[in-house]
């Protein structure tokens, strides 16, 4: 009993103010810090696509960015839900289907306008073999950032928290990867970007129970 009293006294010596938005800020900060590392990696190792200025006036660049960015925002919100110990609703993840479906429709329209002989090159682009792996690799710093966020949070469903953190890290990594990747077709993005994001989510699901225990 005496130990418990001492413990309480020790803990009460360090009572810092905690903002009402502390959880959201912490998740945001974790993603932002990881993203900075990822941006540096893209610029220093992969290189920004030379035609970025021109591309930013085009449709496909924004299509990609809105796709990955909306996935990133939606999953970041889900991560904040899983940072609390009380049962969380993951219904917000259903919103992920909206950008996926929109991109699917754009992809079908693109395919319809292209002669079938060009479908395969359009789908595979020039980088299908490395794109998912690059997205996965670039997701790692952001995932680490989120692990830092979780150090003051209290996830109770560790696998779901890991998978969602991986999903968010993958989506933000893909958003940053757009600075480098010159691919332009919707069907390419839908397949290979999404695959990379899914790989990140799967890795997160594997790592979550080990790395997010508290």
């Amino acid at each position: 009993m005496k130990d418990t009293q001492e413990l309480i006294e020790t803990l009460s010596r360090d009572v810092r103010r905690v903002s009402a938005h502390a959880l959201a800020m912490r998740v945001g900060f974790g993603i932002a810090a990881g993203s900075i590392v990822t941006i540096v990696l893209v610029i220093a190792v992969l290189g920004v696509r030379p035609d970025l200025q021109v591309a930013m006036h085009g449709f496909s660049f924004w299509m990609k960015w809105i796709y990955t960015g909306s996935l990133g925002l939606c999953t970041a919100y889900a991560v904040t839900q899983l940072g609390r110990p009380t049962p969380a609703s993951l219904r917000s993840l259903w919103f992920l289907t909206i950008p996926v479906l929109i991109l699917l429709v754009i992809g079908i329209v693109e395919l319809a306008r292209t002669s079938p002989g060009n479908w395969l090159p359009m789908w595979l682009g020039r980088s299908w073999m490395i794109c998912p792996w690059l997205v996965l690799t670039l997701a790692a710093p952001i995932f680490v950032g989120l692990l830092w966020s979780f150090r003051k949070l209290a996830p109770t469903r560790l696998r779901a928290a890991g998978a969602t953190a991986g999903l968010a890290a993958g989506a933000w990594a893909a958003t940053i990867y757009c600075l480098h990747c010159p691919e332009a077709s919707a069907i390419f993005v839908l397949t290979w970007y999404t695959l990379g994001i899914a790989l990140a989510a799967g890795s997160g699901a594997l790592l979550g129970p080990r790395l997010m225990r508290w």
């Binding site: 309480i8 006294e9 803990l11 009380t86 225990r213």
Partner: protein, 178 residues
């Protein structure tokens, strides 16, 4: 005396705003609550209860940011406590020396219930279906002879004879094998 949700929550909010006195009031008030929470679930492994109370207090302190000010405090508290208990078990199970596993199972009354079940099932399976059913009905499920007779669609004397012969067969079997 257990403190009310409103009281605990106001201390929690005070602590979140940086009020150390409110925070220490809160932690002090949580000790008896957590004690009874864990004692009810651990069935008197006293030192574990003490450990868990302290671990939970530390979690409440370090993971305060995960509390949503608009929601009930006790729901958050017990969610944290429940996680601490699950994690405690998970850690112990992994590091328990194999000789002590027996003790844990016995404490939880798990082994007795399980092995009794397995023994009864094994013994009854050696009997005829009619005898097994009669014994199960009258000696395990606690039905009367009359109920067992109606349920099985046989006469009451038939039930009695089946139970008698079945039990004798089991006794002989146990004597023979041991």
């Amino acid at each position: 005396m257990a403190e009310s949700e409103a009281r605990l929550k106001s201390w929690m909010l005070g602590g979140l705003d940086g009020d150390a006195a409110a925070h220490s009031e809160l932690l002090r008030a949580l000790v008896p609550l957590l004690h009874s929470f864990f004692r009810r679930r651990l069935h008197g492994v006293e030192e574990d209860v003490e450990d868990l109370v302290q671990e939970t207090l530390i979690s409440v302190h370090t993971r305060r940011a995960s509390y949503d000010r608009t929601r009930p405090f006790t729901a958050w508290l017990y969610a944290v406590a429940r996680y601490r208990m699950v994690d405690h078990y998970r850690r112990r199970r992994l590091s328990v020396p194999i000789e002590e596993v027996d003790d844990i199972l016995v404490t939880e009354g798990f082994e007795d219930a399980l092995s009794a079940h397995m023994d009864v099932d094994r013994l009854l399976s050696a009997l005829s279906p009619k005898q097994a059913r009669a014994i199960r009905d009258t000696h395990i499920d606690g039905k009367s002879i009359a109920e067992a007779a109606v349920g099985a669609g046989i006469g009451e004397s038939d039930v009695k004879v089946s139970v008698h012969r079945g039990l004798r067969a089991i006794v002989n079997r146990i004597r023979g094998t041991s």
